[in-house]
């Protein structure tokens, strides 16, 4: 077989493969639910209801989507320049770490000064964490996939070390967790009485900003050129390595905001289970969004919905919530295939 590009894809060609991908994901999830002895319709219904069925559920989904928007944006920015940043998890923890270091009393400022400072400091920390693999890539040609992956393990151990050492909450009854942020460092709720903090709004703003950077600035143009054809970009005079480093700084900073927002908006302190893999899930979010920053918002909501819904479903009928991860992995693999089939036709040779 052979793939042949389709010059002007028809409406059916652009819609049917993605629809089949989604449909197949649902079918696979149903089969797995049946394997667990549950009624697939009720499982799927419970997932949807658990994600979007009530005000409480919806808010929970929005809260869960917030860090995913940040990590999704981080991955989208990096992948667009073909910088394979798989280390959003480490960058997230870097942001969280700097937030608790500065926000638990070291800086005794008012909220209007403190919160932006924490956000910026987080971004710098995250940027720094991704800077190392980026420099290793441009200076020594070390593949960043493996280094960013390995840094995730290293950084989590580093956080664990600090939480059992200097950052340990003396009142924590022996648990490895940090002290709580002072009140001025906490992100307030958007609407009083609704459990949704300003981190969500910040995530939406970040998505728009990234979109503007990509479409309207020279940096965005450079990042896209470098991602699509490094050789041509270098020939034309685009400083490829510098662009990759800038991309790394931006991507690292965005992922770190997820950590900042989780600590300052939701948790109030840092523990080792702050992120149930938000950094890795960001890759799925970004890919489902086709690396489009605005699409990341929708994809994050979808992914968060599946997680929140699956948790609630699992509590109700006892089907393991890993079903959510399976659905996302399946959706990811089938979706990249479906997108390919919207642009190419398979020819038998």
């Amino acid at each position: 077989m052979r793939l042949e590009p389709v010059a002007n894809p028809s409406f059916l060609r652009t819609t049917v493969p993605p629809a089949i991908a989604i449909g197949s994901t649902v079918v696979i999830a149903s089969l797995l639910a049946m394997a667990a002895g549950a009624n697939p319709f009720s499982v799927l219904g419970l997932i949807i209801k658990g994600a979007f069925g009530s005000k409480f559920a919806l808010l929970e989904t929005l809260n869960r989507a917030t860090p995913l928007i940040f990590t999704g944006l981080s991955v989208a920015v990096a992948f667009r320049a073909r910088l394979w940043n798989i280390g959003a998890e480490a960058q997230l923890y870097a942001g969280a770490l700097i937030t608790v270091i500065l926000g638990t009393g070291m800086l005794q400022w008012g909220a209007f000064a403190l919160i932006p400072t924490l956000a910026i400091a987080s971004m710098l920390a995250g940027a720094l964490v991704l800077l190392v693999p980026a420099l290793l890539k441009v200076r020594f040609g070390v593949d960043e996939v493996v280094t960013t992956l390995l840094f995730n393990f290293i950084f989590l151990l580093f956080v664990s070390m600090l939480l059992e050492g200097p950052l340990k909450d003396p009142m924590g009854m022996g648990w490895p967790k940090s002290e709580r942020l002072i009140a001025e460092a906490r992100l307030p709720r958007i609407v009083e009485g609704l459990r949704l903090h300003w981190g969500f709004a910040l995530a939406l703003i970040a998505a728009v900003v990234v979109w503007v950077i990509q479409r309207r600035t020279t940096l965005g143009y450079e990042m896209r050129a470098v991602g699509l054809n490094r050789e041509a970009a270098g020939f034309a005079g685009i400083p490829v390595n510098l662009v990759l480093v800038k991309t790394a700084l931006l991507a690292g900073g965005l992922a770190a905001l997820a950590g900042f927002s989780e600590v300052a908006g939701l948790k109030g302190n840092l523990t080792l289970d702050l992120s149930p893999g938000f950094g890795y899930t960001g890759i799925i979010v970004a890919m489902l969004a086709l690396l489009n920053p605005l699409g990341v918002i929708a994809a994050a909501l979808f992914v968060a919905g599946i997680f929140v819904g699956a948790d609630s479903m699992s509590r109700a009928v006892g089907v393991p919530s890993y079903l959510a991860d399976i659905m996302l992995a399946t959706a990811l693999l089938l979706m990249v295939l479906a997108i390919l089939l919207t642009r190419f036709r398979v020819v038998r040779e």
């Binding site: 077989m1 052979r2 793939l3 042949e4 797995l32 394997a35 667990a36 394979w84 798989i86 290793l136 020594f140 040609g141 070390v142 593949d143 996939v145 493996v146 280094t147 992956l149 390995l150 840094f151 393990f153 290293i154 151990l157 580093f158 664990s160 070390m161 059992e164 050492g165 890795y280 890759i283 799925i284 890919m287 006892g318 393991p320 890993y322 079903l323 991860d325 399976i326 996302l328 992995a329 399946t330 990811l332 693999l333 990249v336 295939l337 390919l340 020819v347 040779e349």
Partner: protein
């Protein structure tokens, strides 16, 4: 106990070879994939799946070798998924690899929860036991290190020789290396690039899964979450460190494992008591990154690694 003393003790080298064994299987698997031109980032998840599948099979009553075969088959199944998407369809090997890792991991955990819904500590199986090779195991130092291991470790070492022989001494190996260097050379000689690459990924994934199974069936006797813990990613670094050659990759795996065994032992010395244990746990990862830095400039990467082949390209 000082470091020299550790390095000269038989138990240290026994442990090092034991730690190296799963890495050898998985590194060989990854090496086969990459030599054919496909980066397989599904390795981490495939190892998880292999660890569970082999253990579960034995727990359900099959023999140990049958368990290894089951693990291998499960790995090959994920290899089939990976290679279908990356070879004929030429999709991003990064994205598909990570997707396969997520799929394999989550399916494994789901299956585990379904199979053993109510357990707090997972059941144990009768794992592979060390087999002392007569005479050779009596040699000082290398006797216990190399010849008092479990059969699965012996298999790992045999496999290195087999893979090296196939790669360099058979028509199949020739075709596989050519597929990773210039696939059109393979196509021009009437061979199927798709077939060779898919075959390499499927077999390689099988080896990865056996590497995972080593953990539950030989190193330990039970299955835990997070048990693979980045070993797959380390194997990818080992392939680079080994310059895509089986012999050097074996050497790299043993060096790496020796270092790992060393840090475990130093942790128990007075020196180790003053340093947070996390520092020791970070060492393998740092070592992998260091290996990549040292080797990335020198190694000769297969020229068509990560380059999809579409024969109709005009």
């Amino acid at each position: 106990m000082d470091i020299l003393e550790i390095l000269l003790s038989a138990s240290f080298w026994t442990a090092a070879i034991r730690i190296a064994s799963p890495l050898i299987f998985a590194t060989l698997g990854e090496l086969i994939c990459e030599r054919a031109g496909v980066l397989n980032l599904g390795i981490e998840g495939i190892m998880v799946a292999g660890a569970f599948a082999g253990w579960m099979a034995v727990y359900s009553g099959t023999g140990l070798w049958m368990g290894v075969a089951v693990a291998m088959a499960v790995g090959m199944l994920f290899g089939l998924v990976h290679s279908l998407l990356t070879v004929p369809f030429g999709l991003s090997q990064h994205v598909v690899g990570l997707g396969v890792t997520l799929l394999a991991t989550s399916l494994t955990y789901y299956a585990y929860r379904l199979a053993l819904p109510e357990v707090t500590s997972p059941p144990k199986i009768d794992a592979f036991q060390p087999y002392e090779i007569p005479l050779l195991s009596d040699l000082p130092l290398i006797g216990p290190a190399l010849f008092s291991q479990t059969p699965l470790t012996y298999l790992a070492f045999i496999l290195v020789g087999v893979v090296a022989f196939v790669l360099y001494r058979t028509p199949l190996g020739l075709a596989l290396r050519a597929a990773g260097e210039n696939p059109s050379a393979v196509a021009a000689q009437g061979l199927s690039v798709t077939g060779i690459r898919m075959g390499a990924v499927i077999v390689g994934s099988g080896f990865m899964a056996v590497g995972g199974a080593f953990l539950t069936m030989s190193a330990f006797d039970s299955f835990f979450f997070e048990m693979v813990n980045g070993r797959g990613w380390i194997c990818i670094a080992l392939v680079v460190f080994g310059a895509w050659r089986p012999g050097k990759a074996l050497l790299g795996a043993i060096l790496f494992a020796a270092f790992d065994a060393l840090q475990i032992r130093i942790q128990q010395t007075p020196l180790g008591a003053d340093i947070p244990y996390q520092v020791f746990l970070m060492m393998p990862y740092f070592l992998s990154i260091l290996a990549l830095i040292v080797m990335s400039r020198r190694a000769e990467v297969p020229a068509a690694l990560m380059v999809p082949f579409n024969k109709g390209e005009r």
